[in-house]
C-alpha cells in the first residue's frame, strides 16, 4: 500500500510536469481555411520542401486532417485545392505550385491554393 501511495504521488507529479499538447492550437490554425473548401472529397497537401518526415511536419499534416474532417487531406498535388502549411513551400516560389493561385492565407501562415482553370 505504501508503494502504491508513493507511486500514485509520483504519477501526479509526472502529470504536472507534462507539456501542453499543441494539437488544439495546430488545429485552430487550419480552421480559417475550412469555409473555402468543398464539404467533402480529397484536398491536396504540399509536403514540406525540407524535413518532410520530421515529427513537427507530420504533426502539422495530421492536424490539418483532424481539423478538416470529413475531407481527406492527402500529401499530393493535382487536386483542385491544395493546402500549403506555413514554411512548406520553398522560398522564392515553389515550382510544385505552378498552375495554382493563392486563394486564402490564414493568420497562422497556412495557405490554400486553387488550381487555375484549364
Amino acid at each position: 500500500m505504501l508503494w502504491a501511495l508513493v507511486a500514485a504521488g509520483a504519477a501526479v507529479r509526472a502529470a504536472l510536469a507534462m507539456p501542453v499538447d499543441p494539437m488544439g492550437q495546430l488545429e485552430s490554425e487550419f480552421l480559417p481555411l475550412r469555409p473555402y473548401l468543398p464539404s467533402r472529397g480529397e484536398v491536396g497537401y504540399l509536403q514540406a520542401f525540407e524535413n518532410a518526415g520530421s515529427d513537427e511536419a507530420v504533426r502539422t499534416h495530421y492536424a490539418a486532417q483532424y481539423a478538416l474532417v470529413p475531407r481527406i487531406v492527402a500529401v499530393r498535388i493535382g487536386q483542385e485545392y491544395v493546402i500549403v502549411a506555413r514554411d512548406a513551400a520553398s522560398p522564392g516560389g515553389d515550382s510544385r505550385l505552378d498552375g495554382y493561385f493563392l486563394l486564402r492565407r490564414a493568420p497562422s501562415g497556412h495557405s490554400l491554393y486553387r488550381r487555375l482553370a484549364p
Binding site: A4, A8, V12
Partner: protein
C-alpha cells in the same frame, strides 16, 4: 455536457435492469461487479445501435437522439417491470448480513486505497487540461474517426483513405464518442475524456468487484492497479486500449474458477458464460486484439465446460459472442476489408523464417526486456515482473485456483503480441516503442486480478448462496 453524461447513463441503467430481468448475475453476485458489467455492456450495446443508425443514414441529429433515448428508456422500463416480479425474493435474500468486523489494518488499507484512487483521478484531469484532444493516437485515430462519423454520417468510410488512422480497427470507441457528441449537440473535447474516465472507473470496479470489495485484498488490488502512471496516463489518453483492458478483465472475471461447485449449477454457468462471451465479443468490436482474447478465452471456456462435464454450456459463450462477431464480420469483410499494416505483406515462407530466426527473437527480446522492467512509470518500475511472479506463484498454490485461467489467458495474449512483433514487416524498434506499453496495459488489470485471486475459505459451500442472492 449533461446530455453526454445522460447518453452514458441511459444504456448502462437499462443494461443493469436487463441483467436483473433475465436473472443474469455475475460470479459472486457482487453489485460493484454487476454495475461495472452493466456499464460496459451498456456502452457496447449503444455503440452497436449507433452503428446501425449510421448505416441507415439517420445519424446524427435529433431524430437519432430521440429514438436512441426512447429505446433505452423503453428497455429500462420493460426490464424494470419484468425484474419487479422476482424483486421480493432478491430483497429477502439480500438482507443476509456479514458478521466479519474490520480490523485497524483493514481500515488502513481502505483509506490508503481511497488516497491512491484520488491521486489516480487527478492525473487524467491534469492531463486533460494540458491535452484536451487526448494523446497522439486519440486525435490521429479514435477521435478523428468519431469526427468522420459525426460530421459525415454514413459517408464516414472516407476515413479509410487515411493510412495512419488504422482503418481496420473496429468502431466501439469512435461510435461511442460520436454518440455522446450527438447527445451534446457539439464536438466537446470533454466527451471522449468522460468516456475514457468512465472506462477507467469500470476497470477498477471490475477488478475490485471480482475480488469482493468486502475483502481487503480487493482494496489492495485497486491500489496496485491504478498506482502506476501508465494506468492513469492511459485514462487520459482517450484511446481504445483502456476499453480493451476493461473488456478483457471483465470477460475473464466472469470465467474465474473461484468455486467449482457453483459451476455445476446451470444458472451460474449460463450467466457467466453468456456475459463472458458478450464482453469478449465487445473487445473484438473495440480493437483487433480482441480476436486474440476470443481465441485464448475460447480455449479457457472449452477447458471449463469439459472440466465440469457440461460441454453443452459452451453454447452460452458462443451465444454471447455471436452478435458482436456478426458486427465485426460485417465491418471487416464488407466495410473495411484491409489487412492491418503490422502484419501486411508477410508470406508463409517469410513468416516461418522469422518465427525460427534466433536473431529476430534476440532483437525482439532486447527491445521488450527493458520495457518489461521499466513498465509503470516513475517509482512503479518493476511492478510488472512482481505482479507476474505473484500471479504465477499464487496459481501454483491450491487456493490460487481461481486466478489460473485468467493468468493463462493473459500469458497467451502476451505470447500473441510477441509473435506479432516477430512477424511484423514494420520497423521493429518503432513498433515496440509505440505499442508495447499500451499492449501490456491491456492485460494489466487482468494480471492484477490474477495476482490477488485468492480462493475463499469454504467457498465451495458459500459461493452458490452468494451467487443466488445477488449481493456482495
Amino acid at each position: 455536457m449533461i446530455f453526454a453524461f445522460a447518453a452514458l447513463l441511459l444504456p448502462a441503467v437499462a443494461a443493469w435492469w436487463v441483467l436483473r430481468a433475465l436473472r443474469l448475475s455475475v460470479p459472486g453476485g457482487s453489485r460493484v461487479l454487476t454495475a461495472a458489467v452493466a456499464g460496459a455492456l451498456g456502452v457496447g450495446a449503444a455503440s452497436l445501435v449507433t452503428f446501425a443508425a449510421v448505416s441507415a443514414g439517420v445519424f446524427p441529429g435529433r431524430v437519432f437522439v430521440g429514438a436512441d433515448a426512447a429505446l433505452w428508456l423503453g428497455l429500462w422500463l420493460g426490464a424494470w417491470l419484468s425484474a419487479r416480479a422476482h424483486a421480493s425474493e432478491a430483497a429477502a435474500a439480500s438482507r443476509i448480513e456479514r458478521t466479519r468486523k474490520w480490523t485497524a489494518a483493514d481500515w488502513l488499507v481502505r483509506a490508503g486505497c481511497i488516497a491512491v484512487l484520488a491521486a489516480a483521478c487527478a492525473v487524467p484531469v491534469i492531463e486533460y487540461l494540458r491535452s484536451p484532444h487526448g494523446q497522439w493516437d486519440a486525435w490521429a485515430i479514435w477521435n478523428q474517426k468519431a469526427r468522420f462519423l459525426f460530421r459525415a454520417g454514413e459517408d464516414w468510410t472516407a476515413s479509410m483513405a487515411i493510412p495512419w488512422s488504422q482503418p481496420g480497427h473496429p468502431l466501439l470507441v469512435p461510435l461511442s464518442v460520436a454518440r455522446l457528441w450527438a447527445y451534446a449537440g457539439a464536438e466537446l473535447t470533454a466527451a471522449p475524456a468522460l468516456l475514457s474516465g468512465v472506462f477507467g472507473a469500470l476497470t477498477v470496479a471490475t477488478v475490485m468487484g471480482a475480488l469482493d470489495v468486502s475483502r481487503t485484498r480487493a482494496w489492495v488490488a485497486g491500489s496496485v492497479l491504478v498506482a502506476p502512471l501508465t494506468f492513469s496516463n492511459l485514462v487520459a489518453a482517450q484511446t481504445a486500449d483502456l476499453p480493451m483492458a476493461m473488456f478483457i478483465v471483465a470477460s475473464l472475471a466472469m470465467l474465474r474458477q473461484d468455486d467449482t461447485a457453483a459451476w455445476q449449477q446451470a444458472g451460474r454457468a449460463r450467466s457467466a458464460l453468456l456475459l463472458a462471451g458478450a464482453l469478449g465479443g465487445l473487445s473484438a468490436w473495440t480493437k483487433n486484439e480482441g480476436a486474440l482474447l476470443l481465441a485464448a478465452s475460447g480455449c479457457l471456456v472449452a477447458w471449463v465446460v469439459v472440466r465440469h462435464g457440461r460441454w453443452q454450456d459452451a453454447g452460452w459463450w458462443i451465444g454471447g459472442v455471436a452478435p458482436m462477431a456478426a458486427f465485426v464480420g460485417y465491418f471487416k469483410l464488407v466495410l473495411m476489408p484491409v489487412v492491418p499494416e503490422y502484419v501486411a505483406g508477410t508470406t508463409g515462407a517469410g513468416l516461418m523464417g522469422q518465427m525460427i530466426s534466433s536473431d529476430r527473437h534476440a532483437a525482439v527480446l532486447a527491445l521488450l526486456w527493458p520495457m518489461w522492467l521499466s513498465w509503470g512509470g516513475p517509482l512503479a518500475r518493476g511492478c510488472l515482473p512482481v505482479a507476474t511472479a505473484a500471479a504465477l506463484l499464487l496459481s501454483l498454490a491450491p487456493h490460487g485456483r481461481s486466478g489460473r485461467g485468467t493468468l493463462a489467458v493473459v500469458l497467451v495474449m502476451m505470447a500473441g503480441y510477441y509473435i506479432v512483433y516477430l512477424l511484423t514487416p514494420l520497423n521493429l524498434s518503432w513498433m515496440v516503442a509505440t505499442s508495447s506499453e499500451r499492449l501490456v496495459m491491456q492485460v494489466w488489470p487482468a494480471l492484477v486480478m490474477a495476482a490477488l485471486s485468492v480462493g475463499h475459505i469454504g467457498a465451495r459451500d458459500a459461493a452458490p448462496t452468494a451467487f443466488a442472492r445477488g449481493d456482495t
